[in-house]
Point group: C2
Chain length 347, copies 2
């Protein structure tokens, strides 16, 4: 922590001389070889304690920090993950990102974030950017009609692990981390059945996505299995605005629904906007149930009952899986994150 050779201290042109300190600069100051400095800094047993001490002290003094690029070039590792999402500004993804960042940093990894903006071309470009930046692994949630399968196949073959999350490919030869969609939808359906509703408006997302199909099928399966099953009207909405419009139309019909199911936060927002524009009272006139990340439902009065899909948890799981991949090659796995019912006052 102190006592660098005094003579040395004076002979050194102290801080930033040629700016960033390098192994070479340290080595010439100390009149030893570069490799010795390198080894001393990483406690290689070949180096004497005495030398180590000197080197470390000088390194501290000169504020030496290894040049990541040189290290990466040599070792072919970057300690950086790529993270590709359709959009960043989204309640689910941003909590996912937050979790990944938090977990990754604990293990010394940083994060490069790319958004694909629902554009398969940009998604492909993002994959290339990941390759170009030589990331050690990539997390990706696919855009709807993504067709970059060759691309991530190639990535995988080249030894870069790919972990899919949320919007995942059908192909089970990949690592896939997602919500237990069937379970969540089943839970939602079972819950609403208890309330003996007559007519359900079920707002579903993009029908091209497997996540939508899984949730819908599970939902319908439960409902249709019930003897006194309510009528279910399925409506596919790509975004909040469509959900709002669809809801408004449904509510203005004479035989309006007495329950609305929303398979995502986005759709919930749209539905609520329309409900708020009527005089209908929740839950007396109409009840609402959603699958949600948990933030939005709590903003309304009454708070909306929802089946939780935690982006944060999913993120932590994804990192865990990625780290397993970093240890060495493993068989691909599909992991489902269980969900739970959070009761508000909307039923």
């Amino acid at each position: 922590m102190f006592a660098v050779d005094k003579l040395l201290l004076y002979s050194i042109r102290l801080p930033a001389m040629g700016s960033p300190a390098t192994l070479k600069k340290i080595s010439t100051q100390l009149n030893i070889s570069i490799s010795t400095v390198s080894r001393a800094l990483k406690n290689h047993p070949d180096i004497s304690e005495n030398t180590k001490r000197k080197v470390k002290e000088l390194a501290l003094l000169m504020e030496y920090e290894p040049n990541a690029y040189a290290v990466n070039l040599r070792t072919n590792k970057s300690r950086v993950f790529g993270l590709i999402v359709p959009v960043i500004s989204n309640l689910f993804y941003d909590s996912f990102i937050a979790a990944v960042e938090e977990e990754a940093r604990k293990h010394g990894y940083s994060l490069i974030i790319l958004q694909s903006g629902d554009d398969p071309l940009q998604e492909a470009e993002n994959l290339k950017l990941c390759k170009l930046n030589r990331v050690d692994g990539v997390f990706i949630s696919l855009v709807a009609d993504s067709n970059s399968s060759m691309l991530y196949n190639k990535l995988k073959e080249s030894g870069t692990p790919v972990v899919f999350f949320d919007k995942v490919p059908e192909d089970d030869q990949f690592d896939r981390i997602c919500m237990a969609d069937e379970e969540a939808a089943t839970m939602a359906a079972n819950t609403i059945l208890k309330y003996k509703k007559k007519k359900i408006l079920a707002l579903m997302g993009n029908p091209e996505l497997s996540i939508t199909r899984r949730r819908m099928e599970a939902y319908l399966k439960v409902i249709h299995n019930d003897p006194g099953a309510p009528v279910v009207e399925i409506a596919y909405c790509l975004n909040s605005a469509e959900a709002k419009k669809t809801t408004a139309e449904a509510l203005s019909k004479k035989k309006r629904p007495d329950h609305i199911f929303c398979m995502s936060d986005e759709l919930l927002i749209g539905a609520m906007k329309s409900i708020q524009q009527t005089d209908l009272v929740i839950p007396a006139d109409i009840s609402v149930l959603a699958i949600s990340n948990g933030f939005i439902p709590g903003l309304f009065k009454p708070e909306i009952t929802y089946v939780e899909t935690s982006g944060f948890e999913l993120g932590k799981l994804s990192v865990k899986r990625m780290l397993e991949n970093m240890e060495g090659p493993t068989a691909s796995r599909s992991i489902l994150l269980p969900s739970r019912l959070v009761t508000g006052g909307s039923l």
Copy 2:
């Protein structure tokens, strides 16, 4: 697009042999020097069209992509920006991040994202990570009691531009991009004065932050300048929960406020939760005005009137400023993003 020498085609062990293609591999295949390949690929005038053609075709065939690390090591540029925020999962920051990603990518930059989690130590660590990753520039929004000034001074001295946004230091020798806080607060104050309110509860954020002080001072200045000024009770709340508690207490007093001003989305959420738990009607019994990113106010019924502070716009501005810095050293600047009033039904 075709017609690689046929002989060549056969002599090449086609795709991934030693996996990633390099200049060297191309050069040996073609029996020319590495430098020629390098120059051919970047259209250096010294290289004949013929050679260029051959090189490019083979490069395509072998799926050559330059190794970013080697390039960075050589050129000392990474084409990566660092972006440090207190938290990612936040309506303001995530739209900011989205904008920065979008703009940065247009100019060939990628983004490394770090969150400091309101911890000055982690903020310092993040700064170090940026240095370590040799980013070409860093965007940073400070945590409350941040004291990393030496750190970003050092970064700046070492030639890495730093652009502060939102939560910026007092020191005007840095680039600072933020909302026109005075203007926004003044606008909010002037707006509410028209409504002849008696008692205002003003929810303010962390008093340690200059952003809070600026907004508060401007707000109070306008109010106190009015002859029939309403009483203003200032309450500092660090988060949504505190805002909720504070509001609840205020509303339960006999002389309850007839207007609530929230200087941020977070505080608005807390306030609304408490209002919703009463029978008070907005705007008849109590009116609400916020400074907001724009998403939250639209969720309520009636929609909350707010002064907009767009994270998205701020992001675009920040990148623009950063790119100016990339051109060469410039004098530090402070940029204010003007705000506008968005009228809902809460007044």
